[in-house]
Amino acid sequence: MRRSSLPFLIGIAVVAFLGIAATRLLGNQYYYFAAYVVLQYVVLATGWNILGGYTGYVNFGVAGFFAIGAYTSVVLIKLLGAPMPVLILAGGIVAGLVGLGTGYLTLRLKGVFFSIATLALAIVLQTFVTNWDYVGGSRGVYTIRPREVPFFDNYVEYLFIVMLLLALGAVAAAWLIERSWIGRGLAAIRDDEQAAEAMGVPTLRLKLFATTVSGFMMGIAGAPYPYYVTYLDPASGFSLAYAVNSVAMPLIGGTTSWLGPVIGAVLLGTLQQVATVTISSALNLLIVGVNLVMFVTVAPEGILGLAREFAEGRPGRRAAIAAMILGILAGDTGIAITGAAGAGLLQLLGIAIPLLTIVGGGLALVRPGIGGLMMLASAAATAAVFGLDVLTAIPIAIGAIGGALAYLARYRITASAGYEALRRA
């Protein structure tokens, strides 16, 4: 075992232990219900990242692979009453095979064709399922949970532990792949496919391996889903939220390491679970979309990349990074708070002002002066429009601190740049 293996394995064991311990301590069912969704996104995002992050091929059909897992379960439950491990294995295998097939058809072309084909695949599958009466067609299908499971007080806790183990398994698999020769081969494909091919990397076989593993992971994420929702219809099984989130989470967290998708999934997933309480699902998608665009434009290495830069520590840069994170934090909480504050024009303002904060936060990395002013202005606007109370104080305070930091960062950058110039002269 190599140098840093032990901490990782201990970490996995600790998380598993904590999860199991939690089911003995926490009584409130809602937490398991919410945590299940977040963990499901950890599996989906990790699966997406095997192909998207390590190899550089974008899969937009996550919803399709997820639904393959879910509907394979539906069929097996109806046909055989199969137990959970069988469902998970079967869902993963079917989704993995579909991934292999799609990859085989399109991976020899330019990468973008694979992306478009996966988008198409999800829709074809959805049409197929909508017209397939055995699994409920467009009306949907009910799945009755087994009355009791050994060792657990109720089924939701059991599902939570199942998903926790799946998530840990997926992360461990990603970690193993990343550190093996396969991971290095995939990275070579991502950086320059032709060069990799010329150096003797078996590119097609590696890409097919990645699509299969990636599909498998998305399939296992979907397999327990019929029991989780108990009522499954094509609209929820193929929901585009899966596709957006699974693309956004790794890109926001950072794509080059197993940790990136986990960070992205935990942050965005938790944010959405909290935000669904106050705002609509459409607004939730907006938050994800805005964060995605913001990160890919100004911070292409994601949160991990920002953390690395922060650790390297040029003072002006540090302040700018902190300002960006604060800006995005202020904007996201702002949408969740002021976005729910009213209707009509007031709601539009409640969304537009936090969006301005997020854009300001993004700009803080590139043009700290303008970004800082934008954040300060939108903090002031929030206070002016929605007043200062316990809730609105959160985005206002975070935004104002971020804005001030960014504005200061402007001077630090110019100062350090001037110093560099002097030293060179």
Partner: protein, 311 residues
């Protein structure tokens, strides 16, 4: 209507009773005409992607979102001022052109210049797609909206074939736009410059032209077509923000099938898809038709990725 019914009708006709068969033939003729008109409209939806994806190599999967924006602009202006939707679509093209240029500038500075367009550029447009959709939902709600114009709802009967004006008008407008674009791309200096970018970027640079500048204008042009396509979409039927997604696969299927960067290829492929969808809807039921374009796309990618008219 199922295929075995057609067989039964054929058998009955051989026995002397051709009533069923002729009604099926009428249905068939109507399906072909409807498919042709629908396909003509699909060409207008796709041409923007043919320019951005086919010619400029910018994978703008957010194009349907711009089309929805066009639809809702048409809806808003039509309901407020009562202007004809087609006129609105044409009048707003300069605004869409500028919007397209602005988006390309962000795209160029953030991704293309750094050589990161493959993954992050795709993700960028994916995000733009959802932001556009949600913005429309927040502004206009999730209800279906439609426009008013005198010709919507009327139809002209040519023998057994009915020619619904709400499909015929978009068809004519779309074909006019195709002809104009083909002339523009083939005959004008700027149009040829766009083709040059699509064929050999490096050579263009060596001629001291700036490909980024040309791509900026061309991308503006591709978004400008979304204004017209959006106004046509809302003439054909009521529109709500999320139906844009249904068009993602369709436009890329048509674009690839048509050989990526060819205007006539786009028109032919659009009509093929239109007729295929119309047939499926008539003979198998409309719930299957979304899969047609996507199925064809998967098939084309697997068998002939260069498209029908590709090199």
């Amino acid at each position: 209507m199922e295929f075995n019914q057609i067989i039964e009708a054929l058998v009955a006709c051989a026995g002397g009773d051709c009533g069923n068969l002729s009604s099926i033939l009428d249905l068939l003729a109507n399906a072909v005409v409807a498919g042709l008109l629908l396909g003509g409209f699909y060409a207008a939806v796709t041409i923007g992607v043919t320019i951005s994806f086919g010619m400029l190599d910018i994978v703008n999967i957010a194009h349907p979102a711009f089309i929805m924006l066009g639809s809702f602009v048409a809806y808003f202006v039509n309901q407020t001022f009562g202007v004809d939707p087609v006129v609105i679509g044409v009048v707003f093209t300069p605004a869409f052109f500028l919007l397209g240029m602005a988006i390309y500038r962000i795209y160029y500075n953030s991704f293309e210049k750094r050589g990161q367009e493959s993954i992050r550029g795709l993700a960028f447009f994916f995000g733009v797609l959802f932001i556009g959709e949600v913005a429309l939902i927040l502004t206009f709600g999730v209800d279906y909206r439609s426009v008013d114009a005198a010709y919507i709802g009327t139809s002209v009967n040519l023998g057994v074939v009915g020619l619904p004006m709400r499909l015929f008008v978009p068809f004519v407008v779309s074909m006019t736009m195709m002809v104009l674009l083909e002339l523009f791309l083939g005959r004008t200096f700027f149009g040829r410059a766009i083709k040059a970018v699509s064929q050999d970027r490096l050579a263009l640079q060596l001629m001291a032209a700036n490909p980024a500048r040309i791509k900026e204008l061309a991308f503006g042009l591709s978004i400008a077509t979304a204004s017209v396509a959006g106004s046509l979409l809302i003439i054909i039927g009521p529109v709500e923000p999320s139906i844009g997604r249904d068009y993602i696969g369709r436009v890329f299927a048509i674009c690839v099938l048509g050989g990526m960067s060819s205007v006539p290829g786009t028109v032919i492929a659009a009509i093929i898809i239109g007729i295929a969808e119309s047939f499926t809807a008539t003979f198998y039921g409309p719930s299957w038709s979304p899969a047609i374009a996507f199925g064809l796309l998967l098939l084309v990618l697997a068998v002939r990725p260069a498209g029908l008219l590709g090199r």
